[in-house]
């Protein structure tokens, strides 16, 4: 058991696992993954690579990142990382607490004073001092660099797994002034048995889109209000600045908003329907069309919205769905018309927006993990621990020089401090 554990957590296994993830990651980036919603791209790829498509199909390479073997490899990698981290921390602790080393090499005729001065000028600090014995060091905390890096990776990996396993999302669809009550149906939901729920009513108050002179979207933000039982509190969510509230995060998305028209429709059976017909925001201010058709009482209609066009006095066009030859009926707010056997009254205009609502644990530990990785990486290559031990002797000064990593790169620094010519120092 011990041998299995040792081999699973060895550096060799870690390297093999990294190579494994790298190879299958590269394959997963090349072969469109069905689990990532790339159906069109996947069909095109299969058409262009018929032979590879058969191989990929046989080996299950269309869902690499969610396959049991890929997730198992990642899990083993995480375990190996955890054990490597513990081992590294123990090693770092031993190095940190290691006793002062024995001096080895004699510099005949030298005296400690000038060497100490040069060392201090080079940024070395005195670690300990006893009569005739001086220990100087630089970047001593750099011995923890690998440990810090691995702790950061471990924290990030564990928290990322936790986030992936516990985050659940849904899409809320609201028009201006509309209140979403707790438990109301979502536009779409990831896990219907466990939808994210804030537990309080919330409302869309306003959506503000700022465009460049060319009409391209520049900024998008939405004002939302939340009712805590006593009062409504206003908050804002915008692209790149989601709103975090009660363990939930609310995102606004650039393509998911636009104008809407409110219609009262009476079908052939004299049944009245209230309908919100949505139009997506079009960046260049051109006319926009409904995304699909609206079916009411057996009849279906589609719409065209052109608030900036030449017919802006009657910006709404309606016609039977799928009939490209039919001339649309143009309406202004308050107008009424017959379309596809339906009596339609254009009541008012409004705006709509969709919001991603996610319930997840705080991402702060993940970001702390990232920060620790950054710190560890920089420590690893910027803080190289060096130690110089000097001992005064009758015939000169004895010294020893220790560098934790890349020792040859610091030979010139050592020689400059000791005042010796290049190549005269002790071997590394």
């Amino acid at each position: 058991m011990r041998r299995i554990l040792d081999s699973l957590t060895s550096r060799r296994t870690s390297i093999a696992l990294m190579a494994f993830v790298a190879v299958f990651g590269a394959l997963g980036a090349w072969i469109p993954q069905s689990a990532l919603g790339n159906a069109d791209a996947l069909a095109t790829w299969q058409r262009n690579n018929p032979l590879m498509a058969r191989v990929a199909d046989a080996l299950g390479l269309y869902a690499i990142f969610s396959s049991w073997w890929f997730l198992t490899a990642l899990t083993i990698f995480a375990v190996a990382l955890a054990i490597a981290t513990v081992r590294l921390m123990r090693a770092s602790w031993r190095t940190w607490r290691s006793p002062v080393r024995v001096t080895r090499t004699l510099l005949p005729g030298a005296s400690a004073g000038p060497i100490l001065d040069r060392a201090k000028r080079a940024g070395f600090r005195v670690r300990s001092e006893a009569p005739g014995r001086h220990v100087l060091g630089r970047h001593g905390s750099g011995v923890w660099a690998s440990s810090v890096l691995h702790v950061g990776m471990l924290l990030s990996l564990v928290w990322a797994a936790l986030l992936l396993g516990t985050t659940t999302g849904a899409i809320a669809d609201l028009s201006l002034g509309e209140v979403r009550e707790p438990g109301a149906e979502y536009y779409a939901v990831e896990d219907p048995s466990d939808p994210p729920e804030l537990g309080m009513p919330w409302r869309l108050d306003d959506i503000e889109a700022v465009t460049w002179p060319s009409g391209v979207l520049k900024e998008l933000s939405a004002r939302l209000s939340f009712f805590d039982g006593n009062a409504w509190t206003e908050r804002t969510t915008s692209v790149n600045h989601p709103l975090r509230i009660k363990g939930h995060t609310i995102y606004t998305q650039p393509g998911e908003f636009g104008d809407a028209v409110l219609l009262r429709v009476i079908d052939a059976g004299d049944v009245e329907h209230l309908l919100r017909m949505d139009f997506y925001f079009i960046e260049d201010g051109q006319p926009t069309y409904t995304d699909g058709s609206y079916v009411i009482g057996g009849a279906s209609i589609e719409g065209r919205w052109d608030p900036n066009g030449v017919r802006d006095a009657r910006p709404l066009g309606l016609r039977p769905a799928g009939d490209g030859t039919a001339e649309p009926v143009m309406l202004a707010p308050g107008d009424m018309a017959e379309v596809a056997g339906l009596t339609v009254e254009f009541i008012d205009t409004t705006r709509w927006a969709r919001f991603i609502v996610q319930r997840s644990p705080s991402v702060t530990p993940l970001f702390i993990g990232f920060a620790i990785i950054g710190l560890g990486s920089l420590m690893l290559y910027a803080w190289i621990p060096r130690e110089l031990v000097l001992e005064e002797a009758d015939d000169g000064v004895r010294y020893s020089w220790h560098v934790a990593r890349m020792s040859r790169a610091y030979v010139s620094e050592r020689d400059a401090i000791l005042g010796i010519a290049s190549g005269e120092g002790e071997g590394l």
């Binding site: 990651g25 790149n240 995102y251 290559y381 040859r408």
Partner: protein, 275 residues
Amino acid sequence: MEQALALEIRVHVAALAAYAVAAGLVLFGATMSKPRLTKAGHLVALVGLGIHAAALGLRWYGAGHGPYLTRYEVLSSNAWVTMAFVQALRLRRRGSEGLAVFVYPAVLLLLGLAVYTGPEVKLLPLTFRGIWLVLHVAFYFVAFAAAILSLGYGMLHLARDAALTSRVPAVPDAAELDRESYRFAGLTFAFWGIGMLTGAIWAYYSWGRFWGWDPVETWSLVTWFVYGIYLHARRFYGIRGRKAALLLVVGFLLAVISLFFTSFLTTSLHSEYFH
């Protein structure tokens, strides 16, 4: 703004010309053992760096956003950061002059490609904003510059192995080339990793997920792992010299694929980048 953009193109071409002269002088000076020519080449490169900085500044002002969206901007920024990196190294550390033999032509190639792709200006997409995106891009620029330097040392090592550098006295000995390539591969690994992490934070704020196995993300992870494999193999298994240099070449090729090719592969959240 339009005037700035019109001027920026000319200034970019001037920087390209300066780099071409610098690369020519350094290559000629190094192979013909003419130290004065090499020195002049370094001076011209330094002047070119200043001109290039002005060009990027004008671009920034004219386009209304940092130079990190189109191919022209990305390649030019990469070229500038690499040249700045090598100049800082050259002025700070002796023995790094030999690197110019590889890096100056590489920078010339990058900027040449940038100018070739054309200076079309694009508006920054709505999600391509914020400090995390700026950090994400900046760290990748530094990582790529470090990767070029690392590859430069590795290639010089391979060239020395093949006895191609016997007439270039500025090239350090094999052990130092090996050590420096290791050092810069370490920097590549560090900055590439931080670049990925800042990208993950940006993705979280923009799209509500920090990782999505997007092709660009995945290739970036693959590249990072390959540099990680190199560092582990170098440190714990004593892989040195030629083998290490060849592994670095693989890592660099992956870095190039990640940064400049993957956004064309398939649908990607990064598809606005580098188009």
